[in-house]
């Protein structure tokens, strides 16, 4: 019986190994997403938004006469799987462009591979500054915000309206660290002062143990930089210990992103962030987008969903403009281009980073996003 099992295992893997679908004459959109692991929730919204965009384009007869087809791969928050899947999509599935996952280290590792095969990548979730900073390359664009896009205007606004003394608390890995550097730079430029920092390990449960130090420092503003489960625990314990009474609460947008805003409930009320999109924006395109999204997925779209939707649409616009899916033509079409979408008009900067309109937003009455004013 055991030998039978072993032989069966080998046969199954061989058969599956050989069976690989070949792409017909159509535009293939490769979408690699962290569908298992800590970012599963927001990754699901990424895939939903990409599918929605592709369906809408196909209803309008596709692009340059070709229908679009999406191939989704799960990179499971793993760098080696992400690069492996990218190679599979490019070499095997012959995709025309790729939407990479949310893990910054995966995107950074995928960029040289995409360059080698000269395949366009539109980053819609990862926030690391390096992607359009030191490590940027010809084929990688980003229509999502990086730390600076929101950090610069937010710092200016906060120093004016909230106060001068800041205490930063964040998760100790690359993305929060680089975002904190941006905030520190712009806060100091505007005459504010960082009076303390605490970096907690990923997956920390008990933030209360840091509150003693924070209270002793008596900052005017507590700046929080983390995401996912850490953010939920941190916000709930900040509320439990009443920190909000002694100091103002501000954060990077990810702390209260749409995938965890329900988990916060009323705990997040009062926190001030700057972000480029919330579903309650009242531009006409946004009303249509939110209606369609709610109809399909029964949930308000997050900025991750909006960004992934716009990423596909922006590349489709470039394909129409360039009249082909050839990467070099697409790069030329995208550089300096502007895209008018639910979030307003955006211009692609020389560093392949989209310049986004940013709004100051406060969380109010039980986890609703309340737009205060335009920040940049």
């Amino acid at each position: 019986m055991k030998r039978l099992l072993a032989v069966a295992l080998i046969v199954v893997s061989a058969v599956l190994f050989a069976f690989q679908a070949q792409a017909a004459n159509e535009i293939v959109v490769g979408c690699i997403s962290d569908l298992t692991g800590t970012y599963a929730a927001l990754s699901k919204q990424q895939v939903d938004a990409v599918n929605m965009a592709v369906d809408e384009l196909n209803k309008k007869g596709g692009v340059i006469g070709k229908k679009l087809r999406v191939v989704v791969e799960d990179s499971a928050t793993s760098v080696s799987l992400a690069t492996q899947k990218l190679e599979r999509l490019i070499l095997d599935q012959k995709v025309d462009f790729v939407i990479p996952p949310t893990t910054s280290s995966a995107v950074l590792a995928m960029m040289p591979v995409a360059l080698k095969y000269n395949k366009l990548m539109m980053v819609t979730l990862a926030q690391s500054m390096k992607i359009t900073g030191e490590n940027r390359n010809k084929v990688t664009f980003r229509c999502f915000a990086n730390g600076e896009i929101t950090g610069k205007p937010q710092s200016k606004w906060m120093v004016k309206n909230l106060g001068k003394k800041y205490y930063i608390i964040g998760a100790d890995y690359a993305w929060p660290r680089s975002t904190a550097e941006v905030y520190t730079k712009f806060l100091k430029e505007n005459g504010a002062e960082i009076i303390g920092e605490t970096w907690f390990p990923l997956g920390t449960k008990d933030f209360a143990s840091y509150f003693g130090k924070i209270k002793a420092a008596k900052p005017e503003v507590l700046l929080m930089i983390c995401a996912g489960n850490d953010a939920v625990s941190l916000v709930s314990q900040v509320k439990q210990y009443g920190l909000g009474k002694q100091m103002k609460l501000a954060a990077d947008g990810s702390l209260v992103s749409a995938d965890i805003i329900k988990a916060h409930g009323s705990n997040a009320d009062g926190i001030i962030i700057a972000d480029f999109y919330v579903s309650s924006m009242d531009t006409p395109e946004n009303k249509v987008f939110v209606k369609n999204y709610m109809a399909r997925y029964k949930d308000a779209p997050s900025k991750m969903a909006l960004s992934s939707y716009e990423g596909v649409m922006w590349v489709a616009q470039a394909i129409k403009q360039a009249g082909s899916t050839d990467t070099d033509k697409l790069v030329k079409a995208l550089e300096g281009s502007t895209y008018k979408g639910p979030q307003g008009t955006k211009k692609m900067g020389p560093d392949h980073q989209a310049a986004l309109e940013v709004y100051m937003i406060q969380i109010a009455n039980g986890g609703q996003y309340k737009i205060l004013e335009r920040a940049n």
Binding site: D172, T198, G203, K205, N229, S236, Y241
Partner: protein, 292 residues
């Protein structure tokens, strides 16, 4: 200086105790199961997670926390009974590396199943007791003190059970020499199953107790299992007193160290303590030298 003591040190010490108690819950189950059945259960943290999720599910049906707790613990016990009967029974007497591997795979299966059933987003649990209390001037939530209280009662109960009851004597007998105990008529398989189910239920209990503080998500077990293992090894595998002492030690070290040094280094400190203990006493602080 005094208010530094009260405002900073005192809450830290209390956090250390609460966190130490939670780890003790899990470490107790882990070490008794190992001590008795020589089973190294790497999936023990997943029962902690399942306990929290069961609590969340029950709460969505009957919104009373204090009903959800026993129901959740019962569900975890049934799951424990099921897994012990199907899988762990095949592991007895085998090389520990196979235990690590089977439970490693089992943990992956539990996490993935939880994500399929309940979805990946973090679920929120209301804190059942929202009151806070004045302790020498510093504010401290009552719910955490409640956990501390429950923890101490459970630990005392287990200590009493092991030390003074006939069931406890049987368990200790089987731990000493299972073949002899079997020869004396003690139903060893029954003891195995009940101890495994008890240890696993304890982890589930810790899971639901902590869910209002840490909330509920599929990978919460992984964050806990490494620390629990370190505690069990420092205390000496199979040694109940050792596991208790080590849980409080680790809880306090992490809580107090994170005042002065950065928390990430405090977390690594825990591993350094393990390495130093193992060099000084390879069988753990309380473990008998050359044991296992």
């Amino acid at each position: 200086m005094i208010d530094y003591l009260i405002y900073v040190i005192l809450p830290q010490v209390l956090h250390g105790l609460v966190w130490g108690t939670v780890i003790a819950f899990i470490a107790l189950g882990l070490t008794i199961i190992f001590g008795l059945m020589d089973i190294v259960n790497f999936a023990h943290g997943e029962y902690y997670m399942v306990g929290a999720f069961m609590g969340y599910t029950v709460m969505s049906v009957i919104p009373n926390f204090w009903i959800a707790v026993p129901v959740a613990v019962a569900c975890v016990a049934v799951l424990g009974l099921f897994t012990e009967f199907i899988l762990f029974r095949r592991l007895y007497g085998r090389d520990p590396i196979f235990h690590l591997l089977l439970t490693f795979g089992l943990g992956m299966m539990f996490r993935e199943a939880a994500q399929l059933i309940w979805g990946a987003e973090t679920k929120r649990m209301e804190v059942p007791v929202t009151a806070t209390v004045e302790l020498l001037g510093t504010v401290y939530p009552v719910y955490r003190l409640l956990i501390l209280g429950i923890g101490i009662c459970v630990i005392l109960f287990i200590w009493y059970l092991l030390r003074y009851t006939s069931a406890g004597a049987k368990i200790r007998a089987v731990a000493q020499d299972r073949t002899m105990a079997w020869a004396l008529g003690i139903k060893v398989p029954l003891i195995y199953t009940s101890v495994f189910v008890g240890g696993v239920a304890l982890a589930g209990f810790a899971g639901i107790l902590m869910s209002p503080i840490n909330f509920v998500y599929p990978t919460m077990g992984v964050d806990v299992i490494l620390r629990a293992f370190i505690v069990v090894v420092i205390g000496g595998l199979g040694n109940v007193m050792g596991a208790l002492f080590a849980s409080l030690l680790i809880g306090e070290v992490e809580a107090l160290a994170s005042i002065w040094i950065s928390p990430t280094i405090a977390e690594t400190l825990v591993f350094v303590i393990l390495i130093i203990t193992m060099i000084v006493r390879p069988a753990g602080l309380f473990g008998k030298a050359g044991e296992r």
